[in-house]
């Protein structure tokens, strides 16, 4: 029945009741109209919770394969134990610092304020001073070259366990960069983009010295906006100087009191901040879960605003293209089907997916083969695939004209710097193929090939990898707190720079290492990196995965419990 209603919606027909028996006697939440009902319970004995192929094949033109393998129970228990032990030692150190047995390196309250409510006692501060500080050398590493496929790091040592660092004066050369968001390899200091940016800098200088509304509106900005609109396939677009500010300053201009924002559980901090600043009601749905979203939409329409039950002024669904901590891709066809059915608006943040997904590099809309005019507000950043900085919003002309005068970012923030604008123009023309070369197409193909190769190899090696098989962001699960520090350091010893992520950015037991595959990585670089990762994985015992491992001679007696992939 769900197939029928879905295909009818796609054809533009109204969805009418096909099964009168079900609608009788159903009180409250009527389930029979739901577009996305829960699939029938199947007895599935797989270790993977979510190796889910979509039921709605009519919406997707290719297989949508996304997996988030469940944490092995033993690993979870050991991780909690590890955090428990570190917490005890944290309390011990706090005690020593309090009673002056040990010198305190932190901010302390003044003597007069000792009897007030403490400023520095939250669990997050406890975590910062007792756990984060001990492995702090894995973050904020100074880079002294362009962050391309290889980079140079400044070597630093610490003599007091990461409270202070000193530079030794040496430089670690040619460290393979698996952490920069350099998906198409445009972060380079030579080539067409760099030359064009240099020329632009010679003509316009570097600073703009004004906001967009005053004298900061250059002809380069107009050129860029037309180009972005053409690239995305929308009527009009507007660019801003900073990606974070694009989200946090424009959502308040779009919604206000009396509006409803439905935002995904794992949305980025800029989206959350923008939603909160707008003082709209915010409701959160489970990550990428269309049943949860549909339930929220139905409740919102049926019950209206909380006390007065008036209808909401507008309902805005906020999702991201690729979620950078999970590597998952949004289920855009289903979201658009829901949006059309319930007449909500869609705000799509393509920070990581623009330029990185899709056969023509136009982002997640291109990846699924959908119509860009279905998405009401397409937002993205230029930091990741274009090698520049800043953000854009694309949509209908009325929307963009409204934003030009009502957005805080346009009125108060400095506009984009000219060399950066030129860098984006050149790189975008390259991706579109309009600069006369096939460099853009090659890079897109290389990125896609690299992603597939990297993910497949890591999966075969036995690591737990989250996310969609086409996403260039690859989170590799570490779980235990000591392994976060150990992984970062061991990889640096093998001359590979990685980003490891722990508690505040991820749930407490799910710490991970996040790799960003780039089109600038050659096969040799990827092989070097993969060998190093495998070596470190064996050294640290990180190969937790229970599926798809080539069966060695030690098969345990529980192998009959593992079911085949699809039923």
């Amino acid at each position: 029945m769900t197939q029928n209603s879905t295909s009818k919606l796609l054809n533009g027909d109204t969805c009418h009741r096909t099964n009168p028996a079900k609608t009788q006697g159903a009180k409250g939440f009527v389930k029979s109209h739901c577009l996305f009902q829960k699939p029938q319970k199947r007895y599935r004995r797989s270790a993977e919770k979510n190796h889910h192929v979509s039921n709605h094949q009519v919406l997707y033109n290719k297989r949508f394969v996304q997996s988030f393998e469940e944490t092995p129970l033993l690993v979870a228990v050991l991780t909690y134990m590890g955090y428990g032990i570190l917490t005890i030692f944290g309390y011990l150190r706090d005690f020593l610092r309090e009673w002056k047995f040990e010198k305190c390196h932190l901010a302390r309250e003044r003597e007069e304020q000792k009897d007030f409510v403490p400023l520095y006692q939250d669990f997050e501060n406890f975590y910062t001073r007792n756990l984060y500080m001990r492995i702090r050398d894995n973050w904020n590493r100074p880079i002294c070259s362009v962050p391309g496929a290889k980079m140079d790091l400044v070597e630093r040592v610490t003599h007091d366990y990461n409270w202070t660092f000193e530079h030794t004066g040496r430089v670690l050369k040619d460290v393979i960069n698996m952490g920069s968001y350099n998906y198409l390899g445009f972060a380079e200091n030579s080539g067409a983009c760099a030359d064009a940016a240099l020329e632009c800098c010679m003509k316009y200088g570097v600073g703009v010295s004004s906001t967009r509304q005053e004298t900061g509106n250059l002809d380069k900005h107009q050129e860029l906006e037309k180009l972005v609109a053409r690239f995305l396939g929308v009527e009009s677009s507007m660019v801003f100087g900073m990606g974070f500010a694009t989200n946090s300053m424009n959502i308040p201009a779009l919604t206000g009191r009396g509006c409803l924002i439905l935002s995904d559980e794992l949305n980025h901090a800029s989206l959350v901040l923008g939603a909160r600043l707008s003082s709209s009601t915010i409701r959160v749905f489970k990550h990428n879960n269309m049943q949860s979203l549909e339930k929220l939409l139905r409740d919102a329409i049926v019950h209206g605003q909380p006390r007065t039950h008036r209808p909401w002024k507008k309902i805005l669904i906020v999702v991201e293209g690729i979620y950078s901590m999970e590597g998952s891709i949004v289920r855009l066809p289903e979201v658009i089907a829901l949006k059309k059915k319930y007449k909500a608006y869609l705000y799509l943040d393509e920070a990581h997916s623009i330029g990185a997904l899709g056969p023509r590099g136009r982002g997640v809309v291109d990846y699924f083969g959908l119509d860009p005019t279905d998405v009401d507000i397409m937002m993205g950043t230029f930091t990741k695939s274009f090698g520049a900085a800043g953000g854009y919003i694309g949509g209908k002309k009325e929307l963009i004209d409204y934003l030009r005068s009502h957005s805080h970012s346009a009125v108060y923030a400095t506009s984009m710097s000219p060399p950066i604008t030129q860098q984006i123009i050149t790189s975008m023309m390259c991706i579109m193929g309009e600069d006369g070369t096939t460099l853009g197409q090659e890079r897109l193909r290389q990125l896609s090939a690299n992603t597939t190769y990297f993910r497949r190899t890591l999966h075969e090696m036995g690591f737990i990898i989250y996310g969609n098989k086409d996403s260039p962001v690859v989170p590799l699960m570490l779980y235990m707190p000591a392994k976060i520090g150990a992984f970062g350091r061991e990889m640096l010893k093998r001359n590979i720079g990685t980003v490891v992520v722990g508690f505040p950015a991820t749930p407490i037991i799910e710490s991970r290492a996040r790799f960003c595959v780039s089109a600038a990585h050659t096969r040799e670089m990827l092989d070097t990196a993969l060998n190093a990762i495998s070596e470190v994985g064996d050294l640290l015992q990180l190969k937790y995965s229970r599926n798809n491992r080539p069966r060695s001679e030690d098969t345990d007696c529980y192998s009959y419990l593992e079911s085949p992939q699809d039923h």
Partner: protein, 108 residues
């Protein structure tokens, strides 16, 4: 927190400890000598308990406390468990014999 709830299967997988596969992995890491293998095991112990990140004096405290507790457990089990087992067996067999005698007395 919930994982991405793309699938709504509610059947939880029964965990299994793949201890056999862990030894296989250890063999894959190139262990030349017994000394290296022991030091790799110590490294795993440091990583799993989390004390890898601590300063050396904190590691020593933790190791001392853990060693003391393990030593006490070993001592107790070696000295007292056989005595308790013997006493328990005597108690239960005495109980069974008493029950049997009473049953025989009842019959005759």
């Amino acid at each position: 927190m919930t994982h991405a709830a793309d699938d709504v299967t509610e059947h939880r997988h029964i965990f299994h400890v793949g201890s056999s596969h862990r030894d296989g992995v250890a063999r894959r890491v190139n262990m030349k000598t017994m000394r290296e293998y022991v030091s790799w095991l110590y490294y795993q112990y440091l990583l799993i308990t989390g004390i890898y990140v601590l300063e050396p004096w904190e590691k020593s405290i933790f190791n001392a406390v853990l060693f003391t507790m393990v030593a006490m457990v070993v001592y107790t089990s070696y000295v007292f468990v056989p005595i308790h087992m013997r006493l328990a067996l005597e108690f239960f067999s005495g109980l069974a014999r008493g029950h049997l005698e009473r049953t025989v007395a009842l019959m005759s």
